[in-house]
């Protein structure tokens, strides 16, 4: 009977230690399977034919959202987009992450797909990376050799390429507490195709001194407008330390659009970047007021 997938050896490690041991042993012949919404598609398309599938979703204690007032928010790599989007603490304090996770795919895809898988796929048009960039997320990577914590702004190297080494597993995402009197948002425009792939994604995190209306800090990140998700650092400089007004927002948006490096539909993407950055900053400012 012809089957949709080519045969492979299936492994179900019960601990992170087991998993990284297997990944180290099998090297390039193994792929990690969690939600499967990306890997299985690639395998069906014969883009990859792994000899070993290392299924990690049954490893306990990798699916959580933990909040504590003083320390970082920690999210287990196996947390699904659905659980993050529905998490009351994330909706309350890191709302832009809930927004991004609720945009990924479809309800079914969100029930299956994990944030770890999303990050490691490193597609240029994905929704969670720009949000994680403005949130200054750090990623815990575990291997046989130990563990390391990598800031997300060094994680993405090129389309679908990250600093993750063979034999390494992403286990946790850490997000520092949001600054006081801050807010954020995530906005996007989509390609007009079935799955609403993001054409331009904009994440903003901004804190404002309410006494004098001065922007004490701002982070702007864009997705789908460069080979990797990017921070618009020059645009941030336009606003940082200044009193916010509409003229300045417009200027920052213009600068942000100039920082993008879109490959296709470049003119439209730059224009949409300018529009969405402007809207995102204005909306965030409203939220803080």
């Amino acid at each position: 009977m012809a089957r949709l997938l080519r045969p492979f050896e299936y492994r179900e490690p019960q601990t992170v230690g087991e998993a990284v041991r297997m990944l180290s042993e099998y090297g390039a012949q193994a792929r990690v399977l969690a939600g499967g919404t990306d890997l299985i598609v690639s395998m069906k398309k014969r883009q990859i034919s792994p000899r070993y599938i290392v299924y990690i979703k049954d490893i306990p204690d990798l699916n959580y959202v933990h909040y504590s007032q003083e320390t970082d928010l920690t999210i287990g790599a196996l947390a699904t987009h659905r659980s993050i989007a529905d998490s009351s603490i994330i909706m309350d304090r890191y709302n832009l992450l809930a927004t991004a996770c609720s945009k990924v795919g479809t309800p079914q895809v969100r029930n299956m797909g994990t944030i770890g898988g999303n990050i490691c796929k490193a597609g240029p048009s994905q929704d969670t990376p720009p949000v994680l960039l403005v949130l200054d997320a750090r990623l815990k990577l575990v291997s046989l050799g130990g563990e390391r914590v990598v800031p997300i702004n060094t994680f993405f190297l090129a389309p679908f390429k990250t600093v993750l080494q063979q034999g390494e597993l992403l286990t946790e995402i850490r997000i520092p507490p949001p600054p006081p009197t801050s807010a954020g948002c995530y906005k996007w425009a989509t390609k007009i195709v079935t799955i609403d792939e993001t054409l331009v994604g904009v994440a903003v995190l901004m804190s404002v001194d309410c006494a004098d209306g001065v922007c004490t800090d701002i982070k702007i990140a864009l997705g789908s407008v460069a080979p990797t998700p990017m921070r618009a650092r020059q645009a941030e400089e336009v606003l940082r330390g200044k009193r916010i007004d509409d003229r300045l927002i417009k200027q920052a948006a213009q600068v942000a659009a100039g920082e993008t490096r879109p490959r296709s539909r470049a003119d439209y993407r730059r224009r949409m970047s300018r529009l969405l950055v402007s809207e995102a900053i204005a909306e965030t400012w409203q939220k803080i007021k």
Partner: protein, 160 residues
């Protein structure tokens, strides 16, 4: 290399010898003869392969069968009780929400997942719940009407 695995589908237990590379949709259709679940786009866009696993809508065409051993799987065949249609199925029939019928099993299951949590959804909430299920025939209007009508009927049944 086949291995024995236990599947709980529509509250029945099945012990099957399956290979790791078999997808849930293949096991349901080919091993169990439950052909209500469809394989359509194959890449996670259309939702025609939707089944409920532990009450959550998931895509059976992107799920390795071995990963859902022992979990509660519900397919469209597990909704009606004999010839008694589930209220959602009744509403689909009554509202003309079925044309070719290909998307219908998955639409009904996604609707069921919604109504099992929220018996008073807004139209927007219905659309959102069905946003992962594509229909090429109906234009969705009657499907949405049917789900809202089913919500009302199920509500009345729950609080007579």
């Amino acid at each position: 290399m086949k291995q024995i695995a236990t599947f709980i589908v529509n509250e029945k237990h099945y012990e099957l010898a399956i290979e790791p590379h078999m997808l849930l949709v293949e096991v349901l259709r080919d091993e169990l003869g439950l052909t209500g679940t469809k394989h359509s786009c194959g890449i996670g866009n259309c939702g025609a392969c939707t089944v409920l696993v532990d009450r959550k809508p998931v895509l059976s065409c992107l799920t390795l069968a071995l990963t859902v051993q022992g979990k509660n799987i519900r397919t469209i065949e597990g909704l009606a009780q004999g010839t008694n249609l589930h209220p959602i199925q009744k509403a689909f029939v009554e509202h003309g929400a079925i044309q070719c019928g290909y998307c219908t099993p998955s639409m009904v299951l996604s609707a069921k997942a919604l109504l099992d949590k929220n018996l008073n959804p807004t139209e927007q909430e219905v659309k959102h719940a069905l946003s992962g299920n594509l229909c090429r025939c109906t234009g969705y209007i009657k499907i949405i009407d049917a789900v809202l009508a089913a919500a009302e009927a199920m509500s009345k049944e729950a609080h007579p």
